[in-house]
């Protein structure tokens, strides 16, 4: 089975569910779709991941301007 990197989709690591929810709502109000997932890749283990599909650069800028701390990001894999 082939896996390809999807450049229109990123996974952003956010430590807290509250901050992940905040980021999701900011993106939604700006017309960007996202989904919260549980993640084990965050800072010191358990955390959350925001899967963002679409204008990922703008999404990252919006999260950054809201001063929501993130702990890395990666591209999504598509099967």
């Amino acid at each position: 089975m082939n896996k390809n990197l999807n450049s229109d989709c990123i996974l952003i690591e956010i430590s807290s569910i509250t901050l992940a929810e905040k980021a999701k709502r900011i993106l939604k109000s700006n017309g960007i779709r996202s989904e919260i997932r549980r993640s084990g890749k965050g800072l010191d283990g358990c955390g959350y991941q925001l899967k963002i599909v679409g204008d990922t650069k703008r999404a990252q800028a919006l999260i950054s301007s809201a001063r929501i701390p993130t702990h890395g990001s990666s591209s999504c894999w598509e099967q």
Binding site: S15, S16, I36, G45, G47
Partner: protein, 378 residues
């Protein structure tokens, strides 16, 4: 029973609050912020929506809304979390034991100095001047009630906050008697607000809020699982996780959210005018009764009416009123220093506190009952 003990907890609760608690148990049964399954995420989303509503209400960011089990829990977090050895804590002299007892407990170890500013029967100018005189770089915290739970006296918190801000001292207010009745916002009235969820916000008992502005972060009272950064023994020092170790009270939080919606729907100025109107009606109705009235100026006062029968001990008076179908609270109301100022120790006094659910006819029948009791023992 006609309920006039709303300063202790509001009753009845709005129907929407009661229904939302049932819904919470049925539809939001996952543990928020712990798992990745749909039920957990759905519950987390619902909890966040209440956080967001509370944030809007108190002028804070959603992550700076911390759910606590009551106002006392929030105040203890602030006092134990911000006190510094060898420094001074400043309060008013009308504080509830939720402020006085934690400070006294620290004081017993000799680690802190406590100044109680005399605010009783002082005007705003005198109060602000007294706080200003005492607030110095030696202070680690200024904390006081927005309104006394005994006299109802409102303190000029905005001006006290300006002094604290100019000197870089954290200022926290206890909004137990004002949340949902008077405006209270972080950044305007204080750095930190401590609120009960179950009084003027009409949420269920066992709920409270610690509202932060993000500039001052007290050390948390409890440590434990937060569902984040679990490998480390050090918790992430970001609110709300830093303060919400352990599973939160989801049905209570959702109920509190419904309470906040109820308050917003009615409008706090409408609620305040209604309740103050009922207090003034009680005051006028009892002027010629055989009672001593301690609250008589509603120009700067929370909707509380305090009195005593002239010839009947306080607790006997409340029992007689209870037997006639009226719920009021007699005693010291956990605020002995305020009663000391009034000269009502050791028995205390009777507190009448209405809510949006009371009406004029209930107040008039309450006044009639008081006159009947006081005439009996003349």
């Amino acid at each position: 029973m006609i309920y006039f003990d709303n300063a202790a907890t509001t009753y009845p609760k709005p129907e929407t609050v009661s229904k939302s608690i049932i819904t919470a148990n049925v539809r939001y049964g996952g543990n928020p912020g712990r798992s990745g399954h749909k039920l957990s995420l759905k519950t987390a989303e619902r909890v966040y929506s209440v956080r967001e509503a509370a944030a809007l209400f108190f002028g804070a960011e959603p992550e700076n809304i911390v759910f606590t089990s009551n106002c006392t829990g929030a105040l203890n977090t602030v006092i134990y979390g911000l006190f510094e050895r060898g420094k001074t804590i400043i309060t008013s002299n009308l504080e509830h034991n939720s402020v006085s007892r934690p400070i006294y407990n620290i004081l017993k170890s000799g680690d802190v100095r406590w100044i109680q500013v005399d605010v009783h029967k002082k005007n705003d100018f005198e109060i602000v001047e007294s706080f200003d005189k005492n607030i110095s770089s030696d202070c680690c915290l200024v904390v006081c009630a927005h309104a006394s739970n005994v006299t109802g006296q409102l303190l000029p918190v905005e001006r006290i906050y300006q002094i604290c801000r100019s000197k870089g001292i954290p200022f926290a207010i206890d909004v137990a008697q004002t949340a949902g009745v008077f405006p209270a916002k972080v950044g305007v009235h204080a750095d930190i607000l401590c609120a009960p969820g179950h009084k003027g916000l009409y949420g269920p008992m066992g709920t409270g809020l610690l509202v932060l502005n993000g500039d001052f972060l007290p050390k948390p009272l409890t440590q434990g699982g937060t569902g984040s950064s679990s490998i480390s023994l050090e918790p992430l020092k970001i609110p709300p996780d830093y303060y919400e170790a352990g599973t939160v009270n989801v049905p209570g939080i959702i109920g509190l959210g419904a309470g906040l919606d109820f308050v917003k729907c009615h409008g706090i100025s409408n609620i305040r005018n209604h309740e103050l109107g009922l207090c003034k009606l009680a005051l006028n109705g009892l002027r010629r009764a055989n009672v001593v009235i301690y609250t008589d100026d509603y120009s700067k006062c929370a909707p509380i009416f305090l009195f005593n029968f002239k010839n009947i001990p306080c607790m006997d008076g409340t029992k007689m009123l209870s037997d006639m179908g009226f719920a009021v609270r007699g005693g010291i109301h956990c605020a002995p220093s305020a009663h000391k100022m009034l000269g009502t120790l050791p028995e205390g006094a009777i507190r009448f506190s209405p809510s949006i659910f009371n009406n004029k006819s209930q107040v008039l029948s309450f006044c009639r009952a008081i006159k009947k009791i006081s005439n009996k023992v003349k």
